[in-house]
């Protein structure tokens, strides 16, 4: 499912809303999550999961083509931990 399909499904089940509002709703949710992570905050949605940042320490990497050592600075990566309910739903075949 892509974002536009998600918007379509929600628009169909909410005929009282304009499609462009549904679009804004979906975009607002993901923008808020992104903004929170950008600020270093975590986003916790009980039953669904939690977004947080994981730090990666600086390391010396290698240019795979030339084999030269390059220093890779410390960075953060977004991380998602699946919530309990969602995890259970994935496994009810």
């Amino acid at each position: 499912m892509t974002k536009s399909q998600l918007i379509q499904v929600l628009a169909n089940s909410n005929p009282h809303l304009f499609q462009r509002d549904v679009e804004r709703i979906v975009n607002t949710i993901f923008d808020e999550i992104a903004k929170a992570l950008e600020a270093g905050d975590r986003v916790e949605m009980r039953g669904f999961g939690t977004f947080s940042l994981r730090r990666r320490a600086a390391r010396t990497g290698r240019n795979p083509r030339t084999g030269d050592a390059v220093s890779v600075p410390e960075k953060s990566l977004p991380f998602f931990k699946t919530g309990k309910e969602l995890r259970e739903k994935l496994n009810t075949h």
Partner: protein, 105 residues
């Protein structure tokens, strides 16, 4: 390091503010969005949100685990796990912030 936690309530507040729906309806829509994503994933379908990231379901095979207390071997049954991969856009966004936080501390 900022240590705030954003919850569903903050997301629905943002919808209330940005889109102008009632607070109740905003909350209901947050639920619906998460519900549809859950739905697709539980059918094994990946969910791709452009410029944010993608959620995909990975099948794990059965393997032998161990009860750490008793040391006996216990089979870990085959199961499905969820993997989130952040898009390049999101990774970039987060790292501008990360380097800032680093210099501040």
């Amino acid at each position: 390091m900022a240590g705030k936690t954003i919850t569903r309530a903050d997301l629905s507040e943002a919808i209330y503010r940005e889109v102008g729906l009632s607070r109740n309806e905003s909350a209901a829509l947050v639920e619906m969005v998460l519900g549809e994503i859950t739905n697709a994933l539980s059918k094994g379908q990946p969910v791709k949100i452009s410029s944010f990231g993608s959620f995909s379901v990975r099948e794990k095979a059965q393997r032998v685990g161990r009860n750490l207390k008793t040391g006996e071997a216990v089979p870990i049954l085959p199961r499905r796990v969820l993997v989130f991969r952040a898009s390049h856009v999101l990774k970039g966004q987060v790292n501008d912030a990360g380097s800032k936080a680093q210099t501040e501390s």
